[in-house]
């Protein structure tokens, strides 16, 4: 009986909790980028998915370069070493885009609707760039040790029927995401620049009156967005694989996470990311195995006990989004309302 319970718990951890935590961390980083754009730059950036794809692409190219030179990170993926290159290139791209495109509309005080349309144009260009440089195919770029804990070792250690496997990429995702989030909150709450950013987000005119340089705040926001997008994209690519179209499709869960948490609220973005990922994994997981351990022999389900096919995982983000819009339109953590 106790053994069944333990087996069920291990199966649950292995198939639901571990993957959902890693995926949630990736979504949270993506949603943080979106929410920062909404809070400081005041528009919904449709190009965010393609920004992630661009950053990841540069990281992949740098990884290949390092591998060609014979430099690897040992047991860790080489992509971690290449990450700064990706962040720098993406920051450069976003700053150039801002200078060439967005700044004009900011000076015109254009509405958020106009900026959203402008970001559609930016999305086309970035999407074209990524496809032009790396193509549309799947790219795998993880190297180093594949597993932190392998299913076989775990079985031998615990003597249970169920194995627990934790991929290196999953461990790195959670660790990196935690470090990035702590650093971001420290930056926003403790440093002078971070405070000026928050002041600018709260009340632009008042911030200008108190002598905050708006162009500097905007530039720093873009750099933060670039870093968050590149890190989120690279972690997702390490965990799964890199394909430009998949990154475009990540837009929906990321937006859903940002809205569920409350647009403009960083804490909300993180909470939203995990809510979306856990619902997605839990609803599309076939519960047959776990239920088989928990329920008495006769009651075990015949089918897969899967609530929703994996091909409908987008539907989960959407349903949660609709529920939140119906019940609490400002999100769980109160976001901005305009």
């Amino acid at each position: 009986m106790l053994l069944d319970l333990l087996n069920a718990l291990v199966a649950l951890t292995n198939f639901v909790i571990v993957p959902a935590t890693a995926y949630g961390a990736q979504l949270a980083l993506g949603a943080l980028g979106v929410t920062l754009t909404v809070a400081v730059l005041r528009f919904t950036n449709v190009a965010h998915g393609d920004t992630m794809a661009f950053g990841t692409m540069v990281t992949i190219l740098a990884t290949w370069g390092l591998q060609a030179l014979g430099i690897t990170a040992g047991p860790l993926p080489t992509a971690l070493l290449a990450l700064p290159v990706g962040v720098a290139a993406t920051a450069g791209l976003l700053l150039a885009t801002d200078r060439l495109v967005y700044r004009f509309y900011r000076q015109q005080r254009a509405s958020s609707a106009v900026l959203l349309i402008v970001s559609i144009g930016v999305m086309f260009v970035m999407n074209g760039l990524v496809r032009f440089i790396i193509g549309v195919d799947d790219q795998r770029f993880d190297d180093g040790t594949r597993f932190l804990v392998s299913a076989r070792d775990f079985k031998a250690w615990s003597g249970l029927d169920e194995g627990l496997a934790i991929k290196t990429s999953q461990g790195i995702t959670v660790l990196t995401a935690a470090v990035v989030m702590i650093a971001l909150f420290w930056f926003l709450n403790r440093t002078r620049t971070g405070k000026s950013m928050r002041a600018f987000a709260d009340n632009r005119d008042l911030a200008l009156l108190s002598g905050i340089d708006p162009e500097r705040v905007v530039a720093i926001t873009w750099i933060l967005v670039a870093a968050l997008a590149t890190i989120a994209g690279t972690l997702y690519g390490l965990d799964k694989s890199f394909k430009p179209f998949t990154y475009f499709q990540l837009l929906l869960p990321i937006f859903a996470a940002a809205i569920v948490g409350g647009l403009g609220s960083p804490v909300g973005a993180i909470a939203g990311g995990f809510i979306i990922s856990f619902s997605e994994v839990a609803l599309t997981y076939a519960w047959k195995k776990v239920l088989g351990y928990l329920l008495p022999l006769g009651l075990a389900p015949d089918g897969l006990a899967q609530l929703l096919g994996t091909e409908y995982k987008h539907a989960v983000s959407f349903i949660i989004l609709v529920l939140v819009l119906l019940i609490k339109p400002t999100g769980l953590f109160k976001g901005t309302s305009t």
């Binding site: 919904t44 449709v46 495109v101 004009f104 958020s112 609707a113 106009v114 959203l116 349309i117 402008v118 559609i120 144009g121 930016v122 999305m123 086309f124 260009v125 970035m126 999407n127 074209g128 760039l129 496809r131 032009f132 440089i133 193509g135 549309v136 475009f248 499709q249 837009l251 929906l252 937006f255 859903a256 809205i259 647009l263 089918g303 609530l307 096919g309 091909e311 409908y312 987008h314 539907a315 983000s317 959407f318 989004l321 609709v322 819009l325 119906l326 339109p329 309302s337 305009t338």
Partner: protein, 431 residues
């Protein structure tokens, strides 16, 4: 009709004629026909964004629903599949819909509290379990019937032209559901909600084999026009083609395409006239008043959310009609080809470049951008051939040449950004 309008439409005509002279008349007519379809899509989106300021980033979903309507209306019914599990499947779907209605009704009637929450949860879980218990075996039975050629329920076997209004109705229904939840909130919530529903609609088309055969595609959908092969065997047609000095095979393909042009042009003209009438009526003035100042319009007693819902449904229905027209033209439904960049964001480029808020502007954008979409690829190929000429043969050259196909996305983005910057109201601005 200003001189500018006439000149720009003449430009489109010249571009299409040049394609015919320099490339082939089949390509020219393809651009013309798809331009007409694109113009109808742009008309739908223009009603939503240009006349009411609503963000619909889910055009793809409504277009795909139009495509589905074509299958459901015109394909002959598969009798064995219906016998195997059709009625059970319908009952299961009705049961699912009934559960949702019941839950909504319960939530509206009962007072807030733990009793309501508990009833909601029990009803929802019970209804879902019952639905799956009934639906799963019925679906498997239907999909098991001759999966290589059918494996779906088929349609009603009606004339395919009826699918066009049906596509509009289907899209309108989906739009009503979305509009009910997302309108009246932050404007970009509607954007994300429509983005979501369009992805879901396409996943349904890709995965529900009993409905649309999924990625196995439905091919050979009945056509409203004669088949080329019949024309080629018709001595009268061959003789007339000979009089014009065209070989019968080319003549038959051109003739069929021209018939489609006639059908599509009729739909487009009717829709343009209706739009113009509506815009010049008090209704149109009210819509513009709401778009320009919602608060003032609301203060004048206009029900802003209701009007938004109305125009959102109408615009989506037009997109649905265009989707049905496109699937009819292709005579096949291929769910795998619905890409948001092509069917949502490209339509946005059409409306913005053409002129949002101007009926003819959207139409112009439809033609012009679709022309670019088709022609950028060969032009890009030529450009890259010229650029890579001095390069030695090798990986870089091959990669560059193979990448020509992606030039079109880049071009569309640049065109959109340039127009937004230097002519933000589009080529034909709203008066």
């Amino acid at each position: 009709m200003t001189l500018r309008t006439v000149a720009l439409f003449l430009l489109v005509a010249v571009l299409i004629l040049l394609t015919g002279l320099l490339q082939s008349w089949n390509t020219a007519l393809y651009i013309l026909n798809m331009g007409l379809v694109s113009a109808v899509m742009a008309l739908g989106l223009n009603a939503q964004w240009g006349f009411a300021g609503l963000f619909n980033v889910g055009v793809m979903g409504f277009v795909a629903l139009g495509g589905l309507a074509t299958v459901l209306v015109s394909e002959p019914p598969v009798h064995e599949a219906w016998a195997a599990g059709g009625p059970r499947l319908i009952v299961a779907l009705l049961l699912g819909a009934g559960t949702i209605t019941l839950v909504v009704a319960v939530r509206n009637r009962m007072t807030k509290g733990w009793l309501r929450s508990a009833t909601t949860i029990i009803l929802a879980i019970g209804g879902f379990a019952l639905y799956r218990a009934l639906f799963d075996p019925a679906r498997d039975a239907v999909e098991a019937v001759n999966p290589a050629s059918t494996g779906f329920l088929g349609g009603l076997g009606l004339p395919v032209l009826l699918a066009w209004p049906a596509g509009g109705l289907l899209a309108a229904g989906a739009a009503w559901l979305i509009g009910k939840t997302a309108l009246g909130l932050r404007s970009d919530y509607l954007a994300v909600a429509t983005l979501g529903i369009s992805e879901i609609i396409v996943s349904i088309l890709k995965n529900e084999d009993w409905l649309s055969r999924g990625v196995k595609n439905v091919v050979g959908i009945p056509r409203p026009v004669p088949y080329e092969i019949d024309l080629q065997q018709d001595p009268g047609f061959v003789a007339r083609a000979g009089d014009l000095g065209i070989d019968p095979i080319t003549a038959s393909t051109l003739y069929v395409k021209l018939l489609y042009t006639g059908l599509f042009a009729t739909v487009l003209v009717v829709l343009i006239v209706l739009t113009q009438l509506a815009l010049n009526a008090p209704w149109g003035r009210m819509m513009r008043a709401i778009r320009d100042n919602e608060t003032a319009a609301a203060a004048m007693g206009k029900d802003v959310t209701r009007r938004h819902l109305q125009v959102f449904i109408l615009g989506s229905a037009v997109c649905g009609i265009a989707g049905a027209m496109m699937t009819t033209l292709d005579s096949q439904l291929t769910p795998g080809t619905y890409q948001p960049l092509r069917f949502t964001f490209l339509i946005w480029v059409m409306v913005i470049v053409g002129g949002s808020g101007n009926t003819l502007g959207g139409v112009l954008g439809g033609f012009l951008i679709f022309f670019l979409w088709v022609e950028v690829e060969p032009l890009g190929q030529m450009l890259l051939n010229a650029v890579t000429m001095p390069l030695p043969d090798g990986a870089v050259k091959t990669h560059l040449l193979e990448s020509a196909a992606h030039m079109r996305l880049l071009t569309m983005g640049v065109v959109l950004l340039v127009v937004l910057r230097f002519s933000p109201r589009g080529l034909l601005p709203e008066r």
